[in-house]
Symmetry: C2
Subunit: 343 residues, 2 copies
């Protein structure tokens, strides 16, 4: 509902044409100053609210962008949304938020609906259940402006904004090796179809290789990005014979690490003495845990901001280049890795 006052109503009330009213309200030149004032006053008193639906139909521009996130409870995403919000707010765009709940089907549906609503562009962070990229490819080929963030799909024609996942994962794994002398290091990985799953795994591998440590398949557990998945993955790891336990664990992200910690505690083991563990995200809970979690700090707000900026530029500028934008991380040394741990 809302106001059903239209240009025509104002025009009739004033005895002018709708066009004149339109011009007056949009501050066009070639309108008599007196007329403009009369129109503005009348519009005000009649409670006129411009109808963007009609405007959009004419201009085929909605000043609306869609945001597709895989999970709304993982604190990282609300923080990203805050960054996006900051940009849209200062640039007259509105934001459709959709939560795919880690289901690729739900994600596809959401994107189709966004297209029907004729959003000007879409920001996407893929679900952990992505199967094939062809859906995205068709989307991009159809001319839809897209920017991926965090969980990106590169080289299919869309810009991406993410952190240097591989280097960061390598760095934190290296910390376990170099500083703490661990040689038996496990990885709770994410799905390899998702960029961050793959890259963080690669970073882990790279660190092992750099120090000539063997890569043991039994220590690489494929899980997911949620606490539950981390818990399950860790349970699996702890089902190995005790003598095969790793000394340290690199989790794909903080929720996964937090789940794993729960499993470790249930086993009666202590962190970091029996098993050290590190995460990736710098979740709001990381510094507050019993044993504060060593992790990689991801500037979520910044990721959101840059992604939104890039998307809007892509929308407004035909020849905006496709880029893979990388936002730097920082390592947060706390105690779960075995360090003394200043938070």
């Amino acid at each position: 509902m809302g106001s059903d006052v239209t240009l025509k109503h104002i025009a009739e009330a004033l005895g002018v044409s709708a066009m004149t009213v339109s011009r007056a309200l949009n501050n066009r030149s070639n309108v008599d100053e007196k007329t403009r004032e009369r129109v503005l006053e009348k519009a005000q008193s009649m409670g006129y609210t411009p109808n963007h639906v009609a405007k959009s139909l004419v201009s085929s521009k909605t000043y609306t962008i869609g945001v597709v996130i895989p999970e709304i409870t993982h604190a990282f995403f609300p923080e990203v949304v805050r960054g996006i919000e900051e940009v849209t707010n200062t640039s007259d765009y509105q934001l459709f938020l959709t939560n795919a709940d880690e289901q690729f089907d739900r994600e596809k549906n959401a994107i189709r609906t966004l297209q029907s609503k004729r959003v000007d562009g879409i920001l996407i962070s893929s679900s952990q259940t992505v199967e094939d990229y062809s859906f995205y490819e068709e989307l991009i080929n159809s001319g839809t402006s897209i920017v991926f963030f965090d969980r990106c799909i590169e080289d299919i024609g869309a810009s991406t904004v993410s952190v240097n996942d591989k280097e960061s994962a390598c760095q934190i794994t290296e910390h376990l090796i170099k500083v703490h002398g661990f040689t038996k290091i496990a990885h709770l990985s994410g799905p390899q179809e998702v960029s961050i799953g793959k890259k963080r795994f690669q970073g882990y591998l790279e660190a092992l290789q750099k120090y000539d440590l063997p890569v043991e398949d039994q220590w690489i557990i494929s899980g997911g990005f949620q606490e539950e998945r981390g818990y399950e993955a860790m349970k699996k790891l702890l089902s190995l014979p005790v003598e095969k336990y790793p000394e340290a664990v690199v989790a794909v992200n903080d929720p996964s690490a937090i789940g794993a910690i729960k499993a470790i505690k249930e086993e009666g083991l202590s962190i970091p003495d029996d098993i050290a563990i590190v995460g990736f995200t710098d979740d709001i809970r990381a510094p507050l845990l019993d044993v504060p979690l060593t992790t990689i700090h991801q500037p979520a707000y910044e990721v959101g901001k840059q992604a939104a900026q890039k998307l809007i530029q892509t929308i407004e500028n035909e020849s905006e280049p496709i880029e893979n934008i990388v936002v730097p991380t920082s390592i947060k040394i706390r105690s779960s890795c075995g360090c003394e741990g200043n938070t």
Copy 2:
């Protein structure tokens, strides 16, 4: 962007009228089965995406609702949004998210924009800087469907969904008195213009009165809902002469309590021995703090869900009654109040 294939294009390609195509795609009766198949196939192959902008113009229905939240970082709100999302997702509505960042002006702007976009209804949680209710009143009078949640404004013609703030605040204050025998209890309050600020304050007062404890103005510090505000308020309280310190503090919400805890620690005091403290929300961090926080658990997801349901009913049913829906809370006894504290 996206597809610029329209009904007309399909119609021409098939040598039929646009109307027939429209009917076929919308599963209307009176369309030949063969024609329908031909249309569906053609639509698919041409990559047709229905244009909801045009649809909305005709039907003056957008299947879109606006959500205005005051703060996106306070974990409570993303959780509410998750509840809202759950409902919209299963009922074909899309969700415009706007963050007012606790600024009433920004909130008003957001709402006006939402009206221009012709949303079918709006979910509002007011900013802590609300000044007057006339803006809301005009909004409601103009026929806009509105439901307030959490930070509500009652009795101005819109339904509300909130927790039993007053009773809960009374209950947790009573706990401090009855179980721990405290008689000197302070309150870090929120703005009184906002429902939860006022009601929680009232609950605090009620508990004191029930036990004939004096109400001391110097122990009632007006602050706000954010960590910073709690910190400042507590600093103010601690600027009293030491002998005037309260024994316990009731904070308006968890972020405020967390800020206050920081101030207490900075003063070298210990919790709960020197000063006990309780919050309200059950923030994700509450059980993880050094001294786990005793607080009121607010079912955020449920609040979001109910608010969204009520809004959609209000939109779809002319005669839907105005209600003040109350979602029950539960008290979470941890250690910050002086209890032994099972989390």
